[in-house]
């Protein structure tokens, strides 16, 4: 350890020697302080040099303290100069951000944590309310084929055939003429989609889907026709 200090000034100083003044002033970090402490404990030459440094340290403080303080003139000059400065308007964004920073800095960690939790709950509530309002007042420009929100009678399940027009099995009276049948088909915008099976024809009405009531009405009207013996709605 004796090699740590350098007796000859012509030699390059060791790293520990360079740190001695900072150790005396108490400005070294913990690691370097420990290193210097260990070196001082083991090297008398270094300890002697450290004693000299302590003297320099004390006298430097003494010298600076003896310099006194500036007169009031310096302060007057400063504040006169500040008064003469143009008024500065800090930018609005700086003001707002500073205010926000200051506001949150004032809150204790516990308050900040509660505020954050409350904020999260409010956010969820808000999302729920917005979602409910949107669902209630939905005026969508499109509508799924299988679900009509405006028609409670519409089936909720998806119809694999799509929105198919209603169909019915119809049996005509034996005296029904071809012209009568054609006229009926025209009146109902119907077409025969399947041949006569057991004396019954399967008719399709129009080209749009109908709800249950419409289909029932349609079947009742068919049933009332003179040339129709039987009309049964088919799925």
């Amino acid at each position: 350890m004796m090699a740590v200090s350098k007796k000859m000034l012509d030699q390059e100083p060791s790293e520990i020697e360079l740190l001695l003044p900072f150790h005396a002033a108490g400005t070294l970090n913990a690691r370097d302080t420990r290193r210097v402490d260990e070196a001082l404990a083991n090297d008398p030459d270094l300890a002697r040099q450290y004693a000299v440094i302590r003297e320099e340290f004390a006298e430097t403080i003494h010298l600076n303290e003896s310099l006194g303080a500036p007169s009031v003139r310096a302060m007057q000059k400063l504040f006169a100069a500040i008064d003469g400065e143009p008024v500065r308007k800090p930018s609005l964004s700086t003001n707002i951000s500073a205010w926000i920073s200051e506001f949150f800095a004032k809150l204790s960690p516990r308050t900040l944590a509660w505020s954050a939790s409350l904020g999260a709950v409010l956010l969820l509530l808000q999302a729920g309310v917005i979602g409910a309002v949107l669902m209630k007042n939905q005026t969508a420009s499109f509508q799924t084929a299988s679900l009509s929100m405006n028609d409670p009678s519409a089936p909720i399940t998806r119809d694999l055939r799509g929105a198919a027009p209603p169909r019915a099995l119809v049996r005509f009276t034996p005296d029904a003429r071809f012209a009568d049948i054609t006229a009926l088909l025209d009146n109902y915008q119907a077409s025969i989609v399947d041949g006569a099976k057991g004396g019954m024809f399967q008719l399709q009405f129009g080209n749009r889907a109908m709800n249950k009531d419409e289909v029932a009405g349609l079947i009742a009207r068919l049933q009332a026709e003179k040339i129709v013996n039987l009309a049964v709605a088919t799925p």
Binding site: E17, A24, L63, P70
Partner: protein, 166 residues
């Protein structure tokens, strides 16, 4: 600003005075320093201590003031005359007062050595802070202080004072 001034003006004044060696100039310096601080308060990023920032500005202002003084005709001879207002080491030795001699020798150091001794011992600045204030690498801070101390020892030795180091 009043609080900042009240807390730091003496320290700033003393650091400036040690550099410019003229009370009037040092007083002007602190006005300039704090006016700059007032103008540039928004630029202070808080990465270093306020005193480090203040001392860095003071140093810059002091060097500018010294340069201005030189420009108005202060030649080397006159400058030497100003430095000679303190007793030289030979006179000091007659006082047989090591402390006094040490203070006189501290005053006789070059401005570069004076400022680093003051920053480390009086202003209690770390290696990193001195590097920031003076604008030199950290290793240079350590070696410059070592050679300032070496110079101090030489001045004291010339004054007949042996301290056991070197």
């Amino acid at each position: 600003m009043q609080v900042l001034y009240g807390r730091h003006h003496v320290r700033v004044f003393r650091f400036g005075l040690r550099l410019v060696r003229d009370e009037q100039v040092a007083e002007d310096l602190i006005s300039e320093v704090f006016l700059d601080v007032w103008r540039q308060a928004g630029k202070f990023e808080g990465r270093s201590a306020v005193t480090t920032w203040l001392l860095a500005i003071t140093r810059f202002k002091a060097l500018s003031a010294l340069r201005r003084r030189k420009d108005v005709g202060l030649d080397d001879e006159t400058a030497n005359a100003i430095e000679d207002t303190s007793d030289d080491p030979e006179v000091v030795v007659q006082k047989k007062d090591t402390s006094d001699a040490l203070r006189k020798c501290l005053t006789s150091l070059s401005p570069e050595h004076r400022e680093i001794v003051d920053l480390v011992y009086y202003h209690e600045k770390s290696v990193e802070e001195v590097a920031e204030i003076v604008g030199i690498p950290e290793n240079t801070v350590k070696t410059r202080l070592f050679y300032a101390r070496k110079k101090l020892a030489e001045l004291l030795k010339a004054a007949g004072i042996e301290r056991g180091w070197p």
